[in-house]
């Protein structure tokens, strides 16, 4: 028997989430949203549990997780940095902002810094086009970010 490692508390929480959706496999995406809310990401063990609870194959769960860009199997940094790559932001220079973050944090998009402080991701249009280009750090929105402003944003969280 292969074991899946999860703490009792988290396991119960996860099972309760599945139950709240009647263990209905049609609710898989809703369940995954909640699970990612609890764990911050969707490690393999979590997907195994969900598969078991909803009575579907793990491959199915992973097929769904790997399809949707909102779901991730990698833990995010303490301060997840997301740069909007909607057209409005692109036209107003978001690419240069990304490059600057990559340079300063020395990581690529989709990666987390070795100290676990920052992770870098791209988003598709957060709808704040009036503020383009837009950067999110966690929930906080930074509008009209110029490449020169990037170091200030990083400094704000680097402490």
């Amino acid at each position: 028997m292969a074991n899946i490692k999860l703490s009792a508390e988290k396991l119960d929480e996860l099972k309760a989430v599945c139950k709240s959706f009647n263990n209905d496999k049609g609710e898989l995406i809703n369940v995954l949203h909640k699970a990612q809310g609890i764990f911050g990401y969707l490690p393999a063990e979590v997907q195994e549990v969900i598969a078991k609870e909803l009575n579907i194959s793990v491959a199915h769960v992973y097929g769904v997780v790997s399809f949707y860009s909102f779901f991730t199997m990698l833990p995010k940094g303490e301060h997840p940095v997301s740069i909007c790559l909607g057209t409005a932001c692109y036209v107003r220079g978001a690419e240069k902002v990304i490059d600057e973050f990559k340079r300063l944090l020395n990581i690529n998009v989709g990666e987390t810094t070795p100290d676990g402080k920052f992770s870098l991701a791209c988003l598709r249009c957060v709808g704040a086009c009036g503020l383009a280009p837009v950067v999110l750090v966690g929930e906080k929105v930074y509008g009209r970010v110029a490449p020169e402003g990037v170091k200030d944003i990083v400094a704000e969280y680097a402490k």
Binding site: H33, Y68, F71, A88, L123, V126, G127, A128
Partner: protein
């Protein structure tokens, strides 16, 4: 009940929210209470005003004063000066860019003058979290009218007569769609609202859901009545937390009032709505993919027919309409199909909401009658091109659309004209580009998006779009040939002809449209190895002007690839073959000797 003498409306849309409008709202409320005005002044958060460029927006009624770019710190002045002393805070008023005058009534602003707000009628006017405000604006009147005075078929006829077409992009007649679903025989049917707005740079659906969620709920119930469904689902992007919250609140309020649930308005009609979340897949805007996603599957589209109207959610007849389409429905029922059909052009009735963005002065959400010209939208509403640059193109229809250029400026915007011009209506993204934008790069940007968002099911889209992207990339790297342009064309036509779903079939549009409209630019890229906008870095060349070079060696020392040679105090030269165009020399030169050509 307090009888307020003044209403302070604070924009609570995502754009303004991002600029701390929530703190501003709190500040206003606190200060109003401190001053003992809370019985006279009501401070409320509304949906988006549309004028996102100038957010956060605060509107004061009844003075009809429109404040722009208000920061939380401005709250005190607004309360003390305007609310107490009746003096408008001039520095927060909108300044007319032409005559530099302060304008306080939004009606007189260029941005609003040409607009006609039907779908957005309540956005920026009511508190979206208060069903009473919606009801007082004829809310649920249309539902009541349908349930008590009209048969489902009559409502369908009215919808058909109105000429309303799907606002999600396809432009299919809404009434006809309802009719087909109503005629599909099944014990269970579904109404689905497609709120998976994924076009990069489009946010009209989100604004409606945030600003006027009840209009969508009401319309879904009307649709349910017409087609014989008692269950509705809203498929909404998880990236829209605010819209989700507002929608949930609204659904709960409607349930409390008995406007959702069993026996609505005593007519025996039952209808309820649940939410399903998207998870970041553009293709889920395609209705079959959306339905699969709602079933907990990968969002892969399937071949139509069967259409969802016949076999949709769990193989039951399902009517899918998008948010903006639904938002129009209650107004049509209330004011009549004839009124609606009186607006717009021959085949495109009513208005269309656009998200205006890019190199334009007034970024924001606008709603104009069909038939408005691009010139009116860009120059009158949009306030022209940013920084006085030259207009180059406007991209409509997002990654499925194409570019419209100078020659299309006076074309009235409607479904058919846009299609004829090589673009499409799409969901309403409108991105304005100026002379600094490279059209090859623009096409590449959209293909990058499509490659990222392709579901991978069919080979033309999965591999073909990747190849399109690679060829475009090659061209922007200065390695393209004339043959590449032909390849782009052939491949584009094949993908359009063979891809499985709407996403794939339209994905080459940005390529074809830019080739058609900006042929010269493509040729320049491949034959002259030049990018006139300067956006393609690889096509730039850095030079040192011998006139200005003093031989300080700063450039040579900072060049990461040692491409610069020259003696101290002598003139330096850049070896073009070695140069990687990083721009370090330009940055380091204090004597303006480095220039780009």
């Amino acid at each position: 009940m307090a009888k307020y003498k003044m209403h302070v409306l604070v924009c609570g849309g995502t754009g303004c929210h991002a600029s701390e409008s929530d703190t501003l709202l709190e500040n206003l409320k606190t200060i109003v209470a401190d001053k003992g005005l809370d019985n006279e002044v009501q401070v409320i958060a509304t949906g988006c005003f549309g004028f996102c460029e100038k957010g956060p927006i605060v509107k004061i009624m009844p003075d009809n004063t429109f404040y722009t770019q208000v920061s939380p710190a401005d709250a005190r002045e607004i309360v003390e000066e305007h609310l107490i002393k009746g003096r408008k805070v001039n520095r927060l008023l909108y300044v007319d860019p032409e005559n530099k005058e302060h304008i306080s009534d939004s009606k007189h602003m260029g941005f609003y003058k040409k607009q006609l707000r039907i779908a957005l009628r309540n956005c920026g006017f009511i508190d979206p979290e208060n069903i009473d405000e919606y009801i007082s604006r004829d809310g649920y009147e249309a539902l009541a009218k349908c349930l008590t005075e009209m048969t489902p078929q009559q409502v369908i006829e009215e919808m058909k007569k109105s000429g309303l077409r799907g606002r999600g992009g396809g432009g299919f007649s809404t009434g006809l769609k309802w009719e087909i679903t109503s005629k599909s025989v099944s014990d269970v049917k579904y109404v689905v609202c497609n709120a998976d707005e994924g076009d990069p740079g489009a946010f009209m659906d989100r604004s409606i859901l945030e600003g006027d969620p009840h209009s969508v709920i009401e319309a879904m119930a009307i649709c349910g009545y017409c087609i014989g469904a008692s269950y509705g689902l809203v498929y909404i992007r998880a990236e829209y937390p605010l819209a989700i919250d507002r929608l949930k609140t609204a659904i709960n309020q409607a349930r409390e009032y008995g406007l959702l649930g069993q026996d609505i308005l005593g007519t025996g009609f039952a209808f309820d709505i649940e939410l399903r979340y998207g998870a970041g897949a553009f293709v889920c805007g395609e209705e079959t993919a959306l339905i699969h996603s709602m079933e907990g599957l990968r969002g892969e589209p399937t071949v139509k027919p069967p259409f969802p109207s016949v076999s949709g959610y769990y193989e039951k007849p399902t009517n899918v309409n998008n948010v903006e389409t639904f938002a129009n429905v209650p107004v049509i029922i209330n004011k009549g199909a004839d009124w609606f059909a009186g607006i717009g052009t021959e085949k495109s009735k009513g208005t269309k909401v656009f998200a205006l963005a890019g190199k334009i002065n007034n970024v924001g959400l606008i709603e104009v009658p069909m038939g408005t010209t691009l010139r009116e939208v860009i120059y009158e509403i949009g306030g022209g091109i940013k920084d006085g640059k030259k207009f180059k193109a406007v991209q409509t229809g997002g990654p499925s659309g194409g570019c419209l250029t100078e020659k299309h400026l006076d074309t009235p915007i409607d479904y058919d004209n846009l299609l004829a011009s090589g673009s499409m209506m799409g969901s309403g993204g409108m991105i304005v580009m100026d002379e600094d934008d490279c059209m090859v790069s623009m096409a590449k940007f959209y293909l990058d998006f499509t490659v990222e968002e392709s579901c991978g099911k069919c080979s033309p889209c999965r591999i073909g779009n990747k190849r399109l992207y690679e060829i475009l990339d090659k061209i922007t790297q200065g390695k393209g040939t004339r043959d590449d342009i032909d390849s782009l064309r052939n491949l584009s036509y094949v993908i359009k002809d063979t891809a499985l779903c709407g996403l794939g079939q339209t994905s080459p549009n940005p390529v074809l449209s830019t080739i058609d409209n900006f042929w010269d630019e493509y040729i320049e890229h491949v034959t002259d190895k030049k990018c006139r906008s300067g956006q393609c870095k690889a096509l730039l060349q850095y030079f040192i002007d011998p006139e200005n070079c003093v031989g300080c060696t700063a450039c040579a020392r900072n060049c990461p690839v040692n491409a610069i040679s020259g003696e101290r105090k002598g003139i330096h030269v850049i070896d073009q073959a070695t140069c990687i165009k990083c721009g370090a020399c330009l940055e380091k030169c204090k004597f303006n000797a480095v220039f780009i050509k």
